[in-house]
Amino acid sequence: MRSFSKNKRRQKPDTALVALWLGIWIFLSVFVLYPLARLIYVVFFSDGGVSLAVLNKVFSSWYNRKAFINSLILASAVGISGTAFGFLFAFSVTRINLPKIVKWFISAIIVLPFVSPPFTSSIALTMVLGPNGLLLKLLHIPDFNIYGFLGTWIAETLTYFPVAFLTLTAVLQAIDPNLEDAAMSMGSTAWHTFCTVTLPLSIPGLANAFLLLFGSSLADFATPLVMAGHTFPVLPTQAYMQITGMYDIQGGAAISFVLLVPALIVYLLQHYWVEGRYYVTVSGKAGARSKPKGAGTIAEAVMLAVISFISLFIIFLYSIIFLGSLVKVWGVDNSFTLENYMYVFTVGWKAVKDTVMIALVSTGIGSVLGVAIGYLVNRKELPGRKALEFMSLLNYVLPGTVIGIAYAIAFSSGPIVLTGTMTIIVALCVSRYDATGIRATTATLKQIDPSLEEASLNLGASKLTTFRKVTVPLIAPAIATGTRYLFVVSMTAISATIFLVSVRWSLLTVRILECITELLFAQAAAFSVVLVLIVALAMWAIRLLFSMLYPNYFREQRGI
């Protein structure tokens, strides 16, 4: 009787899912694994065997050794200052009673660096404190040198502290104000409560913010290229110089490879050490949220003074960019002109067109891929989900310089030759910048109760219909986030793409860099303004698109 029921059943994934899974693995193998493998091969295989000869040769130069140490010093400095600024801003927004308009204003300032090309703060800083700098003239300081550690540090801090702000805002919001109430009810002052409750509880968040900024600074290519000068070499720019200046791709690969080690350590620390202790203080459903407590009047006054100063400075820098794009020669001939914009739309037109084209294609492909990977990572029946997640985030986690050089090596010879094509730039943007979409999709899917999908199946819908009608609308906010990010970064990226541009396909960011090296600051500023406007337009368009596709997108989306 029971004999026929002996064969044990296992849930089988459908063929469509398996095909998708295979397709993504092939994509990741070609555009993530293969370039890195080629890079490692170039660095470690010379004279027909495994050897450290290339690395030895590169780091026998004291200049390159100095670059390594400089990179670490710079990254640490940016990590500390950026985290401090980020915390000040985050604390002010979440814990001090500020007027709505001020809060709105702060969030606007925070968004600016995200949508700007990577050189923005460098250009502005140069225009203000560089040769012929505005402030220097005003204050009559003739021989001030902004180039080097100082300028790079300031520019990178201003560029990256918003990342710390976002991380720390989430952390501070998650700390139950009832804990602060409890401390104060036991007689603690606001300042003492801040020091003994709020600050200690934010430590995991602070550590995470520091690591994020450390990694960003380490990988930053654009800022040091403009600001660091010859006295303060860092690894990413050294790798670039080695390749473009000395035509030594092997040496460049070796320098960039050294970047991999600290970058991976930072990623692993963040992933396995910080994340584990992240949300220990979140007490789930708190009761009524009490009013924010602040940190005592004096401390608050100091904090607000500092953030006001920083905010004004940032606004000042961005106004300078805008003003600078409207004058003939910055600091020399300050008469109004639209020539620079004419330049952008004539000489620079191809770069504008190419960049937008590349960004559109990358965004289209990347958002679909991001959703697909995020979905697969959440499917329990497929093997190797962890590996898939890790592999899909690898290009994002590693410094852009490394990826750029790896692509340049891998796709210039061998079975797949893509040098000079749009495909290579798109492939890089997609495989590198779909990470936000993947993460957002994974996180949102985890919040969606599986019973919603089961309910759909139960009502007779196929898996595909369920995915289309239930899953996708519910993760629409995550898809929108991923799409926006993809477009912005495809437009503003440079660290990796600079190794892949060609006569046929140019990029706005590369044009800006060329302008800076030719000291055409006004034109660089005009390019930057145009880029920011395009990005802003795209943000608006994406928002419109999603609100039309998913009218309930703006409603609170939670599984009931």
């Binding site: 029971r2 029921s5 002996k6 044990k8 059943r9 296992r10 849930q11 109760d449 019973s451 919603l452 089961e454 309910a455 759909s456 199946l457 139960n458 009502l459 007779g460 819908a461 196929s462 898996k463 219909t465 369920t466 009608k469 239930v470 609308p473 519910l474 998913y550 309930n552 409603r555 609170e556 989306q557 939670r558 599984g559 009931i560």
Partner: protein, 362 residues
């Protein structure tokens, strides 16, 4: 068209981190057409897993599920035509009430006018009209529950599966809704399996109750039968309140058995089928419901005890009495105007009606 459900050797083993957990262990169950059977048991007893296997959300490790004459074990969930009401309702948060209910009809590609007619009809059925254009989070818990019900009834499923559908409602609404669900189920004549851990709910709704423990069916019976004749100590203890006294079988004559418990002999009836389970000299558990014990003066037919607590509950008085064996016995006496109220510390005699004592092997 109403059909029976038949579960045959249904088994589910979950594997996690190398350990195997038998969530459902060789369950055989026949549910007649139009019948409402509740699966009752403590959390983790496998009741929801059984329901999920019938719906097709889980694949059985072994065994089969029949709906009517059809073996649906290997049929995917969306081809089974089964209604499933989830504990959390699983309403689609991005769709209006109308779109939620119309979902299954749209999947079946019904014409728009037909969809509209049937959605309206379904909303009438659950007495919830005029909320078509609201979103689920704009509804109260009770209303969400009704929408969930309407959403499955509208596709005219062959059978209805409900997974603790009332557990998120407050006590009063729960009692009201269970009556309403039961009425609707009877009216539609739909075969229904209803999972709950609330025994009152099970007793109130079910034609028959299947009591589950650790993945196994302990007993399947009507509510009355289950209360009066529990098949195992687990069932006796799980359904209602029960005092369990452990005595010794001193003689067995036909369907009568003498059980000696602390100097008092109780003569209890045992049914013919269970006759073979008892042997003279064995330990025997006596199951006595609190309401079948009377309190009075001590004599040689009574057990002697001391009142430990007396709680007046309005319609009844609940006593805890410690008898000489050390066992704590619960006794409930109905409220009567002229009733004697015993106070804490008082010595009382407990009279057990032999007809109300159920003997079970230990």
């Amino acid at each position: 068209m109403t059909v029976p459900i038949y579960l045959k050797h249904l088994t589910k083993v979950f594997y996690s981190n190398g350990t195997a957990l038998k969530a459902v262990d060789d369950v055989n169950l026949q549910i007649e057409a139009g019948e409402l059977v509740t699966l009752l048991g403590p959390s983790g007893c496998g009741k929801t897993t059984i329901l999920r296997m019938i719906a097709g959300f889980e694949t059985p490790t072994e065994g089969q599920v029949f709906i009517g004459k059809r073996d649906v074990t290997d049929i995917v969930a969306n081809k089974r035509n089964i209604g499933y009401v989830f504990q959390n309702y699983a309403l689609f948060p991005h769709m209006t009430v109308f779109d939620n209910i119309a979902y299954g009809l749209k999947v079946r590609k019904l014409p728009a006018y037909e969809i509209k007619r049937r959605v309206t009809e379904a909303l009438q059925m659950v007495s919830l009209e005029g909320v078509e254009n609201r979103f689920p989070n704009q509804l109260s818990g009770g209303e969400q529950q009704r929408v969930a019900l309407a959403r499955v009834l509208v596709i005219k499923p062959q059978v209805l599966l409900m997974d603790e559908p009332l557990s998120n409602l407050d006590a009063k609404l729960r009692i009201y809704m269970r009556a309403e669900i039961r009425q609707l189920q009877k009216k539609l004549g739909i075969t229904c399996i209803y999972v709950t851990h609330d025994q009152k709910e099970a007793l109130a709704m079910a034609d028959r109750i299947a009591v589950l423990n650790e993945g196994k069916v302990e007993q399947v019976a009507t509510p009355f039968e289950l209360y009066a004749n529990p098949a195992s100590l687990f069932v006796a203890d799980f359904i209602g309140q029960a005092n369990i006294l452990k005595g010794k079988a001193s003689s067995i004559k036909g369907e009568l058995m003498d059980v000696l418990f602390h100097g008092v002999t109780f003569t209890v009836q045992i049914d013919a089928q269970r006759r073979f389970k008892f042997n003279v000299g064995d330990e025997v558990a006596l199951v006595v419901r609190p309401e079948s014990i009377k309190l009075g003066n001590v004599d040689n037919r009574s057990l002697k005890g001391k009142v430990v607590s007396a709680v007046f509950l309005g319609d009844e008085i609940e006593y805890a009495v410690e008898i000489t064996s050390g066992d704590l016995i619960r006794v409930t006496e109905p409220y009567r105007k002229d009733a004697h109220l015993y106070s804490e510390g008082e010595t009382v005699g407990l009279y057990l009606d032999p007809l109300d004592i159920k003997a079970l092997p230990v």
